[in-house]
Subunit: 266 residues, 2 copies
């Protein structure tokens, strides 16, 4: 069963990631040992191809649930690396830092995404993760995961896949930052977000962003003003409806055309 099929609901008209009544998410820390089996996100978090018993062993490693307020850090650059994190509800940004204080947002992470993989096989986190809104995460002790993966070959593949996905994701962003114009970057960002909302069973054409213009701009290598101007242009072209952070994609084809790809939108 794919993550998307398990999560797909009767698509609500307007959805943000903190308001998804159809997803039953287990919040009770006391029951966390067996929580994964009942968690609606398990298909996203849990590795494929495990026997039931191994699945349980994996789930047993998830040892606590953490709650973050908007602006609160899940981990900071330089902190010792102990856990990987699964986003349960809410969203976060990951940021890499330059000595002189400059920052680059390297990603936005929604429910079901995994955080902290870039710290694997290094003692400390090279980047940091900050919640964009009220956010809940599950933590899994990486040392224990490594120990378990020596018995369960599938788990090796699982960790490798997490890392490889991260590499490919970063390469896409390199392409965006190195070769695309402002309009294209913004369009690519919206299309990416749209696809990810869709994969989570939410409407791909109407959603509320959890990040500020400045964070979008930083992510895309632009200033907040440029992002705002691109939004306004898409708005006046009838491609989008923009009301603060609430976005409606009115003309998906036109949005796709901005980045020059000839494939269909979804």
């Amino acid at each position: 069963m794919t993550a998307a099929s398990q999560l797909r609901t009767a698509t609500p008209h307007v959805v943000t990631f903190n308001q998804r009544p159809h997803l039953r998410v287990v919040d009770d820390a006391a029951s966390s040992r067996s929580a994964c089996a009942h968690c609606a996100l398990s298909a996203l978090c849990l590795p494929d191809g495990l026997a039931d018993k191994e699945r349980e062993e994996f789930a047993a490693l998830i040892f606590h649930h953490k709650r973050l307020h908007a602006g609160q850090a899940l981990f900071r650059a330089g902190e010792t690396f102990n856990n990987l994190y699964f986003v349960k509800t809410g969203s976060l940004k990951t940021v890499v830092l330059l000595d002189d204080g400059r920052e680059q947002v390297t990603g936005f992470h929604l429910a079901g995404d995994v955080l902290g993989v870039d710290a694997i096989s290094s003692p400390t986190h090279p980047s940091e993760a900050v919640a964009l809104e009220e956010t809940h995460v599950c933590a899994i002790a990486f040392a224990q995961l490594t120990r378990l993966s020596q018995r369960v070959a599938h788990l090796q593949t699982y960790v490798q896949r997490l890392l490889a996905r991260e590499v490919v994701r970063d390469q896409g962003l390199l392409l965006l930052l190195g070769r695309m114009q402002a309009d294209e970057r913004v369009a690519a960002f919206l299309i990416n977000i749209s696809k990810r909302f869709k994969a989570r069973g939410c409407s791909p054409f109407e959603f509320t962003l959890s990040m500020a213009r400045e964070e979008i701009g930083n992510y895309l290598g632009l200033t907040l003003e440029t992002v705002s101007r691109c939004f306004s242009r898409l708005k006046s072209n009838g491609v989008l409806s923009v009301e603060n952070r609430h976005i409606r994609i009115l003309d998906p084809g036109a949005l796709q055309k901005v980045i020059g790809a000839r494939e269909s939108f979804h």
Copy 2:
């Protein structure tokens, strides 16, 4: 023994990566089964912390040596993924592609570097690798490496480390493309190359680049003209000596300052 100490030679005055008489590299394909033990690069390629016997098993997976001319591809995007590659001599660039033909160079790879890690846990290569000059590589069958790593726990860590390094490397590039000015990017590029030459026992202050201005520009998200102008500016400031692709870093401190203290230049 570290890679650097094994490779360090009586630092030659001028070194390119195809002219390193002090490095004994085994080229004979017939003897490749046991070649690693005698290869000067083994400290760079071979995983740490293996027992002698495991080390031999690992070396036995390296099944052939491939020779590439300048401009020849080691693998193309979309080709099936079978092997990881170690650069023995020469250098390559890795490139990611956009549908419309635009390209982004994501890295330059020197002797001792590993190629193809971004394809791990996917059926095909997401990027492609092209030789910048006459280049020799060793190939290692990834499927066999995976099989061996189920017995040898160290090898799991080894593959994870390869992947994690790639993620961190890409994040550094994201910072460069998203937040740095042209002259900072060029300085960062030169400092990076300089460090890597040094780690290989070559002079960090005098070297010959194997890539064209256009490839540097593409890598840095700039045009070749901008790269050329940055080089010229550094030259007229007495920081560099530039004769085509032959670079001498005359004032390393000033070069470093370009990245940090921006007001000291121009």
